[in-house]
Every structure is written in structure tokens, then in C-alpha cells.
């Protein structure tokens, strides 16, 4: 059997791009000005149709964080893992995994940046990847 490279498979298509740098795929409502994540075809705030697709900022600041210490139902990745809320400059707060699983290593309003990280290896031997935020390196 020929050797086949492990594929990178998104946990769900349409949430993020896996480029360098990566991005979160959102939308912007021209009618009310709200930004959305994930991307919507109807604005969840004002019900206007066809919001404009946008890529969201890759950098933001930490607004809330914790760590999950025991695997919740349906989860096959490593524990503990971080979960938090990152505030992006365009006025949106996004819930995401954090690469840091020790809450004591993070602080309120610390700069964060988007990463694409492996979650687990699925039944077909593929790397399942998802979006996460990591403490930002000084720019």
C-alpha cells in the first residue's frame, strides 16, 4: 500500500481559511452595521438579507477565558484545553478554543492572534483542524 500524506480536514467547512495567515470567515450587514461570525445569509440582528462576506481581524484582545479539564460529550481531542472570548477591533466578540490551557498564564485584555490547530486524528487517519486563538507574539 502506497504511503499517503495525512490530509488536513476542517472540523467544519466555511468557518475559516487554512492559509498563511489564516482567517475567520464572517459577514457584515450593510443595513445595521453588525458583524457576524460565522458567516450568515440573513443578518441575525436585523434580518436584512445577503450580508457582505468579510474576513475578520486576525488579532484581538482577551475578554474572558477558562479551561475545560474533562472531555465533554462528543469531544475526542486533548484535555485540558482553553476556551475563551476574544474581542476583535471591528466590534465583535468571538468564542474560540485557546492554545493556552492554563488560565493562570493569561490575563484580561492580553493580545491574541488567530491560529489553525489540530484537534484530533479522525477514523480515516486525517488531521481534523479548527480555529483557535493564541497569545500574540510582539509585532
Amino acid at each position: 500500500m502506497a504511503y499517503i500524506d495525512r490530509m488536513r480536514v476542517m472540523v467544519k467547512e466555511g468557518l475559516f481559511t487554512d492559509g498563511d495567515p489564516p482567517s475567520l470567515l464572517g459577514s457584515h450587514c450593510a443595513a445595521c452595521g453588525a458583524r457576524h461570525f460565522p458567516r450568515h445569509d440573513t443578518c441575525p440582528y436585523c434580518a436584512a438579507e445577503d450580508p457582505e462576506p468579510v474576513e475578520l481581524s486576525r488579532r484581538g484582545t482577551l475578554w474572558a477565558w477558562t479551561a475545560v479539564t474533562a472531555a465533554p460529550p462528543g469531544y475526542a481531542g486533548e484535555t485540558p484545553y482553553g476556551v475563551g472570548v476574544v474581542e476583535l477591533p471591528e466590534g465583535i466578540r468571538v468564542i474560540a478554543r485557546l492554545t493556552e490551557s492554563d488560565p493562570a498564564a493569561l490575563s484580561l485584555a492580553c493580545p491574541m492572534e488567530l491560529r489553525i490547530v489540530p484537534l484530533h486524528v479522525d477514523g480515516d487517519g486525517n488531521d481534523v483542524i479548527t480555529y483557535a486563538f493564541a497569545p500574540a507574539l510582539p509585532s
Binding site: 465533554p72 462528543g74 476556551v83 466590534g91 465583535i92
Partner: protein
């Protein structure tokens, strides 16, 4: 407007009951409530059954054991507020003149451990973003930032409610705990330790509602259902119980519990300062403190001070969760709101013994959870 009164309540204790079915528990609670109300099988014209995990026709299975009359039976799912939703529908139907007397009950057997909810998409579970305690932890941390709530405060909520629950024979946990024991239990999601989280469990509760002009012999004294409101959420709050993936940078979005409380107070013609006793959602210790603020029991940011004052303990000026709360009783989703109502009816009747709130005349029940769904019920005597 027609006055709606509660003439009978019944309960199946909350806990774990292997070998007892969802139906068995419901039958016990319903039978007790009907007996107390003096209502026979033909004495009510409709039934609403709160349940989230009971499955198809849970209400029919219970009432099929008690002699069917062909009346409409509607199962109501509204997450943690299912019982409150059922109560709202029943009260509205009575006020509209559709029915004279309605049976409202809730019954539930929850799976053990962290609640798995079909609310989340499979990818959210796979990505680790469906961890319910993580959302509780994030809300608790924001409460620390906004209101100065510390881990010691969170531990004190547990100590208080477990002390109350120690005299409640229907509670799952009837043993007091110390703050040291709470803080020594393992961390589930910072800042929450295991003892700060309630246990999903099993139980049932039932209430009989009727129009007061139907009453002939009110014994025990009927309790007035002065307000019963269910509300969902407004978009924009990232840590809303609707558990969105994003929200706006806007801290002014009113939470569903505030929407429900405001409407229930208006319906009752009462306000927070009129309350004598409260049963509120304490799924986790921080949730109780958040509820103080969202229900208007204190100013925004004032929950830690209200707890520290001792006002919300038995003997204080506004005891909260005299039953022991969900932290002592556990949480059977479909039954938990009606369990609160049963406790408050007994409080208003003066039947609660060691945990009686002396002279209680106005009471409020509050549940909130997935959806979002927030239910607030105001009772008076």
C-alpha cells in the same frame, strides 16, 4: 382580568432513582397535586407537561396511568425553563377563558454527567465548544471582573444553599458543606469547582391551576399566580444562554432573565422590593449571583455585597433558594421550575418547617437556560 390560583401541588423528590421511570415519577407528583386540589380525573380540561429528555408524548404516558378523558395534553420543551413555560401557557389559557382548571407538571430523568444537548451541532462538540461548564466558567469570570465576585463568594453560595437543603427531605443532597470542602473539590472550569455545579438528575413536580371564581372550598388557602412569563433572548450578548459563537462589543443587551422578570413584575403589579422569598437558577454558584443582578434583587455589580450582607440566607431579609436550590436538589430540566413553584407555594402557606421564611407573602421563581429560555413566576397569598 381573571385571577388564576394554585389549589394543589405535588412532588416526586429530586435525586437518582434507578428502576423508577419518567412516567412513574410524573404519576406520583400528579396524583399528589390532584388530590390536594380535590380534583378528579374529569376535573381539569387540559394538561401541559414540561420535559426536555422525556421523549415523545411524555405527558400522555403519565396521564394514561390515571384515567384518560380525551383532554388535550401538550408537552413543552423550553430547556431549564420548561416548567415555567408550561405554567405560562396554562395560565394564559385560563385567563382567556379556554379552560377553567389545568394540570401543569414536569418530569425528567437526566443522563448522568455533563448534559449532552442536541442544541449544539456535531462539529461544536468535536471542537470542544459544546462544553456547558465552560460557558458557566466564562460567565463567572465576567462576574468577577464586573462585580468583584471572588472564589470565596462562590463557595459561600454553595455553603448557604447546602445549609438550606439540609432540612429539605426532597433534595438530592441533604448534608451541609464547608467553604474549605467546596474549594478543595476539583476544578471543572476555572473559577468553578465541582461542588459549585449542580447535578443533572431525576424528579417530577405538579401544580393544579384554576380560575378563582370556580373555587368553592379553598383549603388549603389558594395561592395566586400573579405573573408567569417566558422570554427568549435578544441577539448580541456573546455569553448569553443562547450560546452563540459570537456577539457584539456591547454590554447593554438586556439578558433574557431581565426581560422575563420585568414582564412578570409588570403582570403582577409588583417589584423586586415587594419580594419575601426567591427560588432562582443556581445551576452553578455564579449563576445565583448573576440572577440577583438580572432579576433586580440588587443593583448591577451589587451581587457580592448582597450575599455578604446575609440577606439571601434563611433569616435574612430576602432568602434565596430556601429549598437548597439546584445545588442541593439537582436539576431535572422539565421539573426544576415547577419544583421551585412547589417550594414557594409551601413557603407561602407556611408549611416549610425548619426552612420556613416567616410571614412570606410574595415569592418569585426563576429559571434560565439553553435556547435561551428564561421563566419567571410571581406568586402571592
Amino acid at each position: 382580568m381573571k385571577r388564576v390560583v394554585i389549589t394543589g401541588v405535588g412532588l416526586h423528590p429530586f435525586g437518582r432513582f434507578d428502576g423508577t421511570s419518567t412516567t412513574d415519577m410524573g404519576v406520583r407528583a400528579v396524583r399528589a397535586a390532584l388530590k390536594q386540589a380535590g380534583v378528579g380525573r374529569g376535573g381539569f380540561q387540559a394538561a401541559f407537561c414540561g420535559t426536555a429528555y422525556g421523549g415523545v408524548a411524555t405527558g400522555h404516558k403519565v396521564l394514561s396511568r390515571l384515567g384518560m378523558t380525551g383532554m388535550p395534553i401538550v408537552d413543552v420543551e423550553a430547556g431549564c425553563a420548561s416548567g415555567g413555560a408550561a405554567l405560562m401557557l396554562a395560565a394564559g389559557a385560563i385567563r382567556a377563558g379556554q379552560y377553567d382548571t389545568v394540570l401543569v407538571f414536569g418530569t425528567e430523568k437526566m443522563p448522568k454527567g455533563v448534559i449532552r444537548s442536541s442544541f449544539f451541532e456535531p462539529w461544536q462538540e468535536e471542537a470542544g465548544l459544546a462544553a456547558t461548564p465552560a460557558f458557566f466558567g466564562l460567565r463567572a469570570q465576567r462576574l468577577a471582573v464586573n462585580s468583584g465576585v471572588t472564589k470565596q463568594h462562590l463557595a459561600q453560595v454553595v455553603v448557604k444553599n447546602r445549609r438550606h437543603g439540609a432540612s429539605n427531605a426532597d433534595a438530592m443532597y441533604q448534608k451541609e458543606v464547608s467553604a474549605e470542602e467546596v474549594l478543595a473539590s476539583r476544578v471543572v472550569c476555572e473559577p468553578l469547582h465541582l461542588f459549585m455545579l449542580c447535578s443533572p438528575n431525576e424528579g417530577a413536580a405538579a401544580v393544579v391551576l384554576t380560575r378563582d371564581d370556580r373555587l368553592e372550598l379553598p383549603a388549603p388557602a389558594p395561592i395566586t399566580l400573579a405573573g408567569a412569563v417566558l422570554r427568549s433572548h435578544l441577539p448580541g450578548a456573546v455569553l448569553s444562554e443562547s450560546t452563540p459563537l459570537s456577539g457584539l462589543v456591547d454590554d447593554t443587551v438586556p439578558p433574557p432573565s431581565t426581560l422575563a422578570a420585568t414582564a412578570a413584575f409588570e403582570e403582577a403589579g409588583l417589584g423586586p422590593s415587594d419580594l419575601d422569598v426567591v427560588e432562582c437558577q443556581d445551576t452553578d454558584a455564579a449563576r445565583e449571583l448573576l440572577s440577583y443582578e438580572e432579576l433586580g434583587l440588587c443593583q448591577p455589580g451589587g451581587s457580592a455585597a448582597l450575599l455578604e450582607s446575609g440577606a439571601t440566607g434563611l433569616g435574612g431579609s430576602l432568602p434565596v433558594n430556601p429549598s437548597g436550590g439546584l445545588l442541593s436538589k439537582g436539576e431535572p430540566l422539565g421539573a426544576s421550575a415547577l419544583g421551585q413553584v412547589v417550594e414557594l407555594v409551601r413557603q407561602l402557606r407556611g408549611e416549610c418547617g425548619a426552612r420556613q421564611v416567616a410571614g412570606a407573602r410574595v415569592a418569585l421563581s426563576h429559571t434560565v437556560g439553553r435556547g435561551a429560555n428564561a421563566g419567571v413566576v410571581v406568586l402571592t397569598r
